[in-house]
């Protein structure tokens, strides 16, 4: 059944700072970078910062991981005269595109007119993301995980990847192809952190951090901020760019996934998955579309195997066939034709978290908007539908389909 709010809202403004290697954004502050991203998004939309009257966050309003955004502080900093919607999707980066659904809820409830969704990330030495989980005595719940030495996200993800390799014969070569295929999209992107083409030899020589995962299977650690503005379709028509229409959006997940790699209790086949099947089914039901109808897929890529598992959960290929799908070159973007290769649908035409920048998923939304506007650097020819995902992570994870207006 079609979603009641299908095509009722659109993303009309996108803005970002430069992307900095971890820790290099200092002496800028979180609110400095967030402010630049929001003001750039307003300029892109053709509205004033004073028009912003709602904020839809995710990651429990985290600014980065240890800082917190505060709506009142943002108003004090940026001068918005009033805010009539301020809400957050729970859990972490899995909620990123789901926050656009939250914004849609606020808009459809007529709480606000222009709702910003943002993330700013800054890792000062005392804020190192990869050791956040291991820095303190564990909670009673995580006392059943942390003593095993599974303390960083990469450790946790490697256990899921291992199970996938065991069940389906998935190879590290496929993880490498995810990294290489998306790296091939950054050479022409001025802001990208990693721009050099990656060879298989270089990938194989990358240090093993959590076997079966190498350093290059881990996403970048970057500082920076990204903001996007969502509004109703009637207002979107008056903005500067062609609207990126919110065609389907869902967040959530099922109990078998739950706390996921913070738990490790997932039964097969959920353990060796991305946990996205539930929201994938929801957006396909909302829209009547399927993976084959997408023109480009912007899949959350904190770790390369999780891209492969999302391809399965969204139905780009069958469960257990991710290895062969990836190795057949179907993630790649062909600049000569503006299409995929070997019948595939291009994945992460912006280079993703692995190669361009890691702002906890926001760069995927920006790329989705640019693709359906027709202004992307690596433009997919005649892109009508863009899939954007957030997570795998503890629930909720989330999914978004943007449509060209």
């Amino acid at each position: 059944m079609a979603w009641a709010n299908q095509d009722k809202t659109a993303i009309v403004g996108i803005g970002s700072t430069d992307y900095y290697v971890r820790g290099k954004s200092w002496p800028r502050t979180i609110n400095d970078m967030a402010g630049e991203a929001i003001m750039n998004a307003c300029a892109d939309a053709g509205i004033s910062i004073k028009d912003i009257d709602g904020i839809a966050y995710y990651s429990t309003a985290g600014a980065g991981y240890l800082d917190k955004f505060d709506t009142a502080s943002l108003m004090e900093t940026l001068g918005m005269p009033h805010i009539s919607f301020s809400a957050t999707l729970t859990s972490g980066g899995g909620g990123c595109p789901g926050a656009i659904g939250l914004a849609t809820a606020g808009l459809m409830n007529e709480d606000a007119k222009y709702i910003v969704t943002l993330m700013a990330l800054q890792q000062l030495p005392q804020h190192r993301l990869g050791v956040v989980f291991g820095a303190h005595a564990p909670s009673p719940e995580s006392s059943f995980l942390q003593p095993s030495g599974l303390v960083g996200p990469g450790h946790l993800m490697s256990v899921l990847a291992r199970r996938h390799m065991h069940l389906y014969g998935t190879t590290q070569d496929a993880f490498g192809e995810v990294v290489m295929a998306t790296r091939a999209n950054t050479h022409n992107r001025p802001k990208a952190v990693r721009k050099n083409p990656l060879t298989k030899e270089e990938y194989d020589a990358s240090v093993m951090l959590a076997d079966p995962l190498r350093r290059l299977d881990f996403c970048l650690e970057t500082d920076g901020a990204v903001a996007v503005i969502t509004t109703t379709m009637d207002r979107a028509k008056d903005c500067r760019h062609k609207p990126a229409v919110v065609h389907a959006c869902a967040h959530g997940g099922q109990r078998e996934w739950g706390r996921a790699f913070a738990w490790m209790g997932m039964p097969d086949p959920y353990f060796a998955s991305s946990g996205h099947k539930f929201t994938a089914d929801r957006i396909w039901n909302q829209s009547g579309l399927a993976a084959k109808d997408m023109d480009v897929a912007l899949l959350y890529d904190h770790f390369s195997p999780m891209v492969l598992m999302q391809l399965e959960d969204y139905g780009f290929c069958a469960k257990g066939e991710g290895n062969d799908y990836v190795l057949s070159g179907k993630l790649r973007y062909d600049p000569a034709t503006g299409k995929g290769t070997n019948g595939g649908i291009p994945v992460n035409t912006h280079g993703g978290n692995l190669n361009e920048a890691y702002i906890i998923g926001m760069t995927h939304i920006v790329e989705g908007v640019e693709q359906v506007r027709g202004t992307a650097i690596n433009q997919v020819k005649d892109a009508e539908f863009a899939l954007v995902s957030g997570g795998p992570a503890s629930l909720p994870v989330s999914s978004l389909v943007l449509r060209s207006a």
Partner: protein
């Protein structure tokens, strides 16, 4: 594909660097561990196992809990091979394993395994509990290859 890596002996992480915390739902598990008795949280009403221990049975909503003494054996469900001690970043080969606990279907533990080289660990490998003293007088279940 790159050649498999020869890691050498898998070690458990040093107990003196490991803290835990407990709450009234989880403490019976850790008290049993002090007695070198492996248990898991079982519903006192329907018999469903769950780990970590939590206030309600997710199947039948009962608050009744049982803490049966289990055989102390388990099967490796998945694992990673890590090479740096997370406490200090020094070279240290350890293998975090996720195990299915024998006698407690559906319940898992996350631990370290020893008694073999890291590269010998495999999914389906049988292991038996080995107790590691940790901070504050608590005892942690780790595992040894059978």
């Amino acid at each position: 594909m790159a050649e498999p890596i020869k890691y050498g002996p898998a070690r458990v992480l040093p107990g003196e660097q490991i803290p835990i915390t407990t709450n009234p739902d989880t403490e019976p598990f850790w008290q049993a561990a002090k007695e070198h008795r492996l248990t898991a949280c079982q519903c006192g009403n329907c018999g469903h196992f769950r780990m970590p221990p939590s206030p309600y049975c997710p199947e039948c909503s009962s608050r009744e809990k049982k803490w049966p003494t289990l055989p102390g054996t388990a099967t490796v469900f998945s694992f990673a091979i890590c090479n740096k001690n997370p406490a200090n970043g020094e070279d240290y080969i350890y293998v975090p394993i996720v195990v299915d606990i024998d006698g407690a279907p559906g319940a898992r533990l996350n631990a370290n395994v020893t008694g073999c080289n890291a590269e010998e660990v495999h999914i389906g490998m049988k292991v038996t509990v080995e107790w590691t003293p940790i901070r504050d007088g608590w005892v942690l279940p780790n595992f040894r290859k059978v």
